[in-house]
Amino acid sequence: MLYREALNLAYHEAMTADESVVTLGEDVGFYGGSYRVTEKLYEQFGAHRVIDTPISEQSIVGNAVGMAIGGLRPVAEIMTANFALLAFDQIINHMAKLPYMSNGKVQLPIVVRFPQGVSKQLAAQHSESYEQMLAAVPGLIVLTASTPQAAYHGLKKAIELDDPVIFIEHELLYNKKGEVDTQARFDPFKAQIVKPGNNITLVSYLKMVDDVMTAVPEIEQQLGVSCEVIDLNSLNPIDTDTLKTSLSKTGRLVMVEEDHKTGGYGAQIVSWASEHCFYELDAPPLRIAGLDTPIPYNRTLELASIPTPDSIAQQIIQWGKQNGL
């Protein structure tokens, strides 16, 4: 099943099981979504539950908040992360805080989904990643999905939760194929050990998990080590148990992310590790991230601005050699 089909299946099941689940966004209805994630929902559930909105991101999320207060469980789709910026007021000032500010009088079972990241030459205003900002907001749960399996189970769980969830996808993952076991006991709050190993813990999420996996054979061969690859999946809360167990075994941490390095999400992981796993670590952690520049348009430079399998392998090999591997 494709990643986007897995999301679609989660929608179908959730909307069939619970009539209060509605979805809204630009082009989500009749057309079935920019990335076809909401395909056929309009036909099956009708225009009152699958809502084509005006081009008004701030209102999409604001309306979702009101719908949730009114007893619905809205899933809002924003076309891409950069457009979600127009809704950050509603997301951060309202959606994240109303349950707290109301002294618990309201619950907001809302999912706001959007893709992010570098796709192919969409340039500075269509390519960025904002998990670091959103994971820093108390009151929001931030989930990601790097596989169809995680997409299906993650979205289903997100819709069931009574807290607002930011559900982040990646532009380049929608056509990724993978098995979806709907009966599996998949916990989206648990980090996944994508590949077990003994000497280096490689932590990542979203599309970078694939790039890390592509880089691993070269790293293992050049350094003569075995790598453990962890897909965080949930960015807030963080499954620190899985991280701690892995670091106790390997003693080495590499964090790979696509967002800008300064203030990037990985800083949180490395900071946590230095606070809580200091004595387990045998080497300074390595962070591999995007440059601190907007994403350039030119394809060569675009690729030079974010980690690639090649640059990931090279940086880790160099770091490994400098640190006794």
Binding site: D27, F30, S34, S56, K120, Q125, T293, Y297, N298
Partner: protein, 311 residues
């Protein structure tokens, strides 16, 4: 008038060239073609002075060219080359040619509308005789920032012309699924702007409307809101046709194609086929020459990656 007809043809042939070259995959940027909407860009920009400013959106090629933006630099930008209008850092959706008064386009829907409004404030403060034009789409009209800008411009009588190109769609969703039945320009009127409306495919109808609007603006009676109806022929984004997707009623595209701005003006101006083919040849030659020149540019340098992040 014939010069304006020629300009529309030039833009049409340019966009067709973009579409035909797109298939080669060298040029990767999402292109939002203006085919079918040329009379608006030309009708508006031809009446501006070089120092007047134009702000645009994702569908910017026609605005850029009509305002006198450099064609070679535009093509080079599509290819991400150093000689591009923004050095290869932006692509089709991020255009700028300050020399020509094309102040910029960005693809965050609604993004340039408040910016254009601020630019008009600066013009007013400096007692400049120049004004600003802000192009926006019917979808853009739904963004909150647009309402905020109209309010601000009306409050301070800013020298700005908002040109709403109503092509009835935002990507795949038709206007009637996004807005109640109403006249868009009446909304602006209710907000305190002088507002006009016309058929945007007829150059002869567009020109006097723009003339009136600019007269008001230049005599300090602005701002003005001008709604022009039109229709996009190609797919929302990309070089192809997407009519087969069925989001537009059957025959609608054909009805609009029958009201092609270039064809209409050709008939009205009495341009015969001999004259037309002569102009076609000149236009073709210019585009091909620019294309060739554009491709001589180099790739922007990786060592400059951080150059303009800060001043």
């Amino acid at each position: 008038m014939k010069v304006l007809w020629r300009e529309m043809l030039r833009i049409r042939r340019f966009e067709e060239m973009v579409a035909s070259q797109y298939a080669e995959q060298e040029m990767r940027c999402p292109v939002h073609l203006s085919v079918g909407q040329e009379a608006i860009a030309v009708g508006v920009c031809s009446q501006l002075e070089p120092e007047d400013l134009v702000y645009s959106n994702h569908r910017a090629h026609a605005h850029y060219l009509a305002k006198g933006g450099d064609m070679t630099a535009l093509i080079a930008e599509f290819y991400g080359l150093e000689n591009g209008c923004v050095g290869g850092w932006g692509g089709s959706m991020h255009l700028m040619d300050l020399k020509a008064g094309f102040a910029g386009s960005t693809p965050i829907v609604g993004g340039t509308v408040p910016i254009a409004t601020g630019a008009a404030w600066a013009q007013k403060l400096k007692q400049s005789s120049a004004c600003t034009v802000s192009f926006l789409g019917d979808g853009c009209f739904e963004e909150g920032g647009v309402a905020e800008s109209l309010n601000f411009a009306a409050l301070h009588q800013l020298p700005i012309l908002y040109v709403l190109e109503n092509n009835l769609y935002s990507v795949y969703t038709p206007l009637e699924k996004r807005q109640p039945p109403r006249e868009l320009y009446k909304v602006a009127e209710a907000m305190g702007l002088k507002s006009l409306k016309g058929f945007g495919n007829d150059l002869e109808e567009v020109l006097p409307l723009v003339e009136q609007a600019l007269k008001w603006i230049r005599s300090g009676e602005g701002p003005v809101f001008l709604e022009l109806s039109t229709y996009r022929w190609p797919e929302h984004c990309g070089p192809n046709d997407d009519d087969h997707l069925g989001y537009r009623p059957e025959g609608e595209l054909q009805r609009w194609q029958a009201r092609c701005p270039i064809q209409l003006a050709q008939v009205n101006l009495g341009i015969d086929e001999i004259e037309r083919s002569q102009i076609e040849a000149e236009v073709k030659q210019e585009i091909e020459k620019c294309w060739q020149q554009a491709l001589e540019g180099g790739i922007p340098k990786a060592e400059n990656m951080e150059t303009n992040v800060y001043a």
